[in-house]
Structure formats: C-alpha cells, structure tokens
C-alpha cells in the first residue's frame, strides 16, 4: 500500500491539461471531479482516476480533479505524479 503523507499537486489549468491535488485521508478514496467535459466524459474520467490510484496502491486519500479537457493519458500522468509527490517524506 502506498501512503499519502502530505498534500501534493500536479498538472495545470491550461487547456488539455488537468490539475490534480491529493491529500491524506483517514479512510477510503474520495474523488471530487470538475471537468469542462463532465457530461460527456465525467464517468470515464472518474474510472481512470480510480484505476491509476489502484495501480499506485493508494487506498486512502482525498483527490481533487480540475479537468480542462485532458486526454486519458494526461489524466493518468498527472494523478501518478501527484501520488509520487504526496507519498514522499
């Protein structure tokens, strides 16, 4: 299991990017998503975020996503980078 020990962020609010913030939580995963393509891709973005967190072994964290129309590969990269930054001591 990967523990998130501090608040960390990755990405930007530029077009086609996504800003991801992660912080420690007592229990479980909460994902708060805001996206310019919420109606068309909201569900799929949430699934991708969950998948990356699982791959990274994160079980407890609060994640905030501000999506500006990023592709899946970008969302994956930004979530992974945020996790990497949040787990370091």
């Amino acid at each position: 299991m990967t523990e998130i020990v501090k608040r960390a962020s990755a990405g930007t609010m530029e077009s086609s990017d996504v800003y991801v913030e992660i912080e420690p939580a007592e229990t479980g995963l909460t994902v708060e998503l805001q996206s310019v393509v919420q109606k068309q891709f909201g569900a799929s973005i949430e699934a991708v975020v969950q998948e990356v967190l699982q791959e990274c072994g994160v079980e407890k964290a609060r994640i905030l996503i501000r999506d500006r129309g990023a592709l899946d590969c970008v969302i994956r990269a930004r979530v992974e980078a945020a996790v990497l930054r949040g787990k370091e001591g």
């Binding site: 393509v37 109606k39 068309q40 891709f41 500006r68 129309g69 592709l71």
Partner: protein, 468 residues
C-alpha cells in the same frame, strides 16, 4: 422638409408601435451596439408588450433583452446568430415561443416574401442626413457595410433611422436610401467603436491551426477551381485567415487573378485585393478597421446587401457565383451535417449566419476544424442539431486528415493524386476517438427552445432545452 424627430420615444409613437407587433434590428455594430437596448428600454417605458424582435444577430451586449423577456415586453426572437451569453439563458427554456434561427440569406427572403413581416425597423447608422439617406462608412461609429439592414428598410411598414452623426443633405454614397425612411432620430452614441470593429483580426499561431490552414490551401490549389476568375469567401476565425494567407501566397506565385472575394470582410481579404488576388471585394459586413477604411476609399471594394449576398428569394445572389468557401463547425456528423448553433453541452452559442447560404451556393464548401477540442471529437454520428445540411458540405479538413463528401468522387481522386491525406469521414471519427475516447451522448430536454429554419424558409431542425 426634415424627417428628424426630437426623440426616440416620439419616433416610436409616430410609427404607431403597438402590442403584438414586430420590431427589427441589424447587427453591424456587433458587440458594441447600443441601439437595440436603447430602443427596447424606450418601448418598455411606453408600456408596449408582446413584441417579436427580428434582429439579424443577438450579441452578448444585448443581454438586457433577457429582462424584457421576463417582463413580457419581448415574447419571441427571430435571429440568424445568438452569442453564448444570451444563448445560454434561452437554452434553459425561458421563452414560451421558440427562437427562430434563419440564415443571412433566408432572413431577407422571408422578410421580402412577407413570411416574417416587420412593423417597425430600427436602423442604427453611423451616418445619415435629415431625410434618412444612411451609410456605415462615416462617423465615430463607422462600421463599413450596412448590408444586413437593407431588407428591413425596404420592407418594414415603418422605418426609423438612428444616428449619432447627422450630416448635411445629401449624404454621399448611401447604403439606405431616403425613399424607405420615415423618421430620423439622433442620439449621443449608437455604439462603442471598440466593440463594433476589431483593431486587427489575427492569423492563428496555433500549430494545429496552421497545419489545417496549409491543408485547406492545398485542397483549393488541387480542386481545379483555382484559376483566373476564381472567387472566394472565408470566415474570420484564426485558421480560416491563415488558410487565406497561404492561398494568397499560392495565387501570387502562380499569378492567378481571381474575380471576387465575398462575405464578411477582414483586413486579410483587403490585402488580397490590394495584392491583386481579386478584382473586387463584395462586402456585406466589415470585421475590422482595415476593411472599413478600404470600403470607404477603394472603389473595387463594393458594398452589397444581404439580399444580393445570399437570398434565395431573388433571381440570383452572389453566393451562387462563389467557387470556394471556408467555414467552421462545432460538430460535423458522418453525413457531413454541420452544427454551428450549440456548444458541446447543447447550449446555444452561435447560428448559421451566412454558413448555410455560402455552403449551398459555392462549388466547393470546406469546413476546417481540429479533430477535437478539449477532448471532444469534431466528427459525430449525429450532430446535436443541423445548421447546414450535409449535402451542401464538400470537404472536412482537420489536422489528422481530410474527409471528402462521397458525392464528390472526382474531387476525392484529385486530392488523393496530389498526395493529400484523404480518409473516409468514419475512419476519421474512429481515428479521433482512439485518441479522445467516445463521448457519452448529451441528454436533450423535451422543450423546444429554438427552431432552425433553412435558407428556403423550411423547418430544418429543433434545439431543445438543456438538462443537467
């Protein structure tokens, strides 16, 4: 004799405006227009209600119209374009009667044929004399052409000209003749020059836009249409202008002299005229200062009205002689139907303007648009609403390839032979979705908020309210 009356209120009273009538406006002052709001406030003050507003376009500067809708002063809107601020409110279903969208050619047709009669036309003009001869070329609020106002002047029962620049009779070089005008009103300012014309319209620096523009110019080059006498129209979007600038290079290099450039005119089209790419510009609307200056001073830069520009009701229109037009799209479907009315969430944020007219009249109608914007693919199975029917669209140019409407077998072969990346529109859709993923379909509400009327006056599609 003089037609000048002392106030707008007096002109409205004299014109006999009553509950349930139709008033009209043009959009040459674009987002700098003061007149529509000024007039509607006076009308509301007079206690007149239940009006139909027939405006060639509604911009966000006209947002106060929402209050008049709420107070039942305005109960229906007819327009050719509606900007996103007002469009968003309309899309939530605030009006009982749906908005009617027409095209720049269809609107004057329907006015002339009596399908959409106008009781009182309010025509803002940058210059007028005391008998109502009026022009867009002079004065602090100069906008150049007044092409969209002419049908209103010709066919409305009463015509009120509103100006901030009363000039001595007779005004030279008028667009609207005194023969149509009932009253002249002077006001402090008809608009804010900053919102009327842009200082400059800029070519895109966006790399994707430049790739599309380069493809677009190549499509024209190899279409078989680029020869002496060539005629051309393009929008004012960054990529369209870049395409025009690439086209200019090709025309100069190959010494091709075109006959005319058409449409809403930007400084880039003026440069093409001055460089000798065209004999004439036919101008229904000026987009920037350079265009305004040119229409005032260059005799080869000719003002035309919307009837002559694009109306199918008359014996011919300039679009019927048009070779190539470059247009935009928010969505296009696999049958080449184009949506320029609604945004990705289904909110109204535009309209056909001259889109459908130029598409129908031209020999080659090309859409240029990126494969996707903010992850939303441009090619869909079905557009949210049809603004321009697919039968009038010939080519879609994206950075990821060029799709040709299958009805154009010969053009497809020509472009393939030129080495351009041609692919089936369905293949382009798949290629795009491989990058973006497939978007979930939008849910539509069950309440019609707008009717799209074709340029021939037939119902084309319906826009429904947006639900969350």
């Amino acid at each position: 004799m003089s037609k000048v009356v002392k106030s707008l209120k007096e002109a409205i009273r004299n014109a006999g405006l009553k509950d349930g009538m139709t008033v009209s406006f043009h959009h040459h002052l674009r987002n700098g227009d003061y007149v529509l709001n000024m007039v509607m406030d006076e009308i509301a003050d007079l206690g007149i209600k239940d009006l139909t507003v027939n405006a060639s376009s509604i911009f966000d500067v006209h947002a106060p119209i929402l209050n008049h809708i709420e107070n039942n002063v305005v109960t229906q809107i007819l327009c050719n374009y509606m900007a996103s601020g007002v469009g968003r409110a309309i899309s939530t279903g605030i009006m009982e009667k749906p908005v009617q969208f027409r095209t720049h050619g269809g609107r004057p047709s329907d006015i002339a044929l009596g399908r959409t009669p106008i009781d009182v036309a309010f025509i803002a003009v940058p210059a007028a004399d005391n008998m109502g001869n009026a022009s867009g070329k002079f004065g602090p609020s100069a906008c150049g052409s007044l092409g969209y106002a002419v049908a209103d002047a010709m066919f409305a029962k009463k015509v009120i000209v509103i100006t901030d620049n009363l000039m001595p009779y007779p005004l030279p070089d008028w667009a609207i003749s005194e023969t149509y005008v009932d009253y002249v009103v002077t006001v402090d300012a008809i608009g804010d020059p900053k919102g009327i014309v842009s200082g400059t319209t800029k070519i895109t620096r966006d790399p994707v836009g430049l790739v599309m523009a380069s493809y677009a110019a190549q499509v024209i080059k190899h279409s078989g249409l680029l020869k002496d006498g060539f005629s051309f129209q393009t929008g004012a979007g960054g990529a369209s202008l870049a395409a025009a600038s690439f086209l200019k290079e090709i025309m100069l290099k190959e010494k091709i002299r075109g006959s005319f450039g058409l449409g809403g005119i930007t400084g880039y089209m003026v440069e093409m005229l001055e460089a000798g790419c065209f004999e004439k510009l036919m101008d229904v609307q000026c987009f920037d200062l350079k265009a305004v200056e040119s229409i005032r001073s260059n005799p080869n830069h000719i003002e035309i009205n919307a009837l002559q520009y694009a109306s199918p009701a008359f014996k011919s229109a300039v679009v019927d002689s048009l070779d190539v037009v470059i247009l935009g799209a928010t969505e296009i479907d696999t049958d080449f139907n184009v949506n320029v009315h609604t945004d990705s969430n289904g909110y109204i944020m535009g309209g056909s303007g001259g889109h459908s007219d130029a598409a129908a009249g031209s020999k080659l109608c090309m859409i240029i648009a990126p494969m996707f914007r903010a992850r939303l693919p441009i090619v869909r199975d079905r557009v949210h609403c049809v603004s321009t029917p697919g039968q009038d669209i010939d080519v879609l140019v994206t950075q990821g390839g060029i799709a040709v409407n299958p009805k154009n077998a010969e053009l497809t072969e020509r472009l393939k032979a030129a080495g351009l990346p041609i692919l089936d529109i369905r293949a382009l859709k798949e290629k795009t979705e491989a990058i973006t993923g497939t978007p979930d379909p939008l849910r539509k509400g069950d309440r019609a908020v707008a009717q799209i009327v074709s340029r021939y006056g037939e119902p084309l599609d319906t826009i429904y309210n947006v639900v969350d």
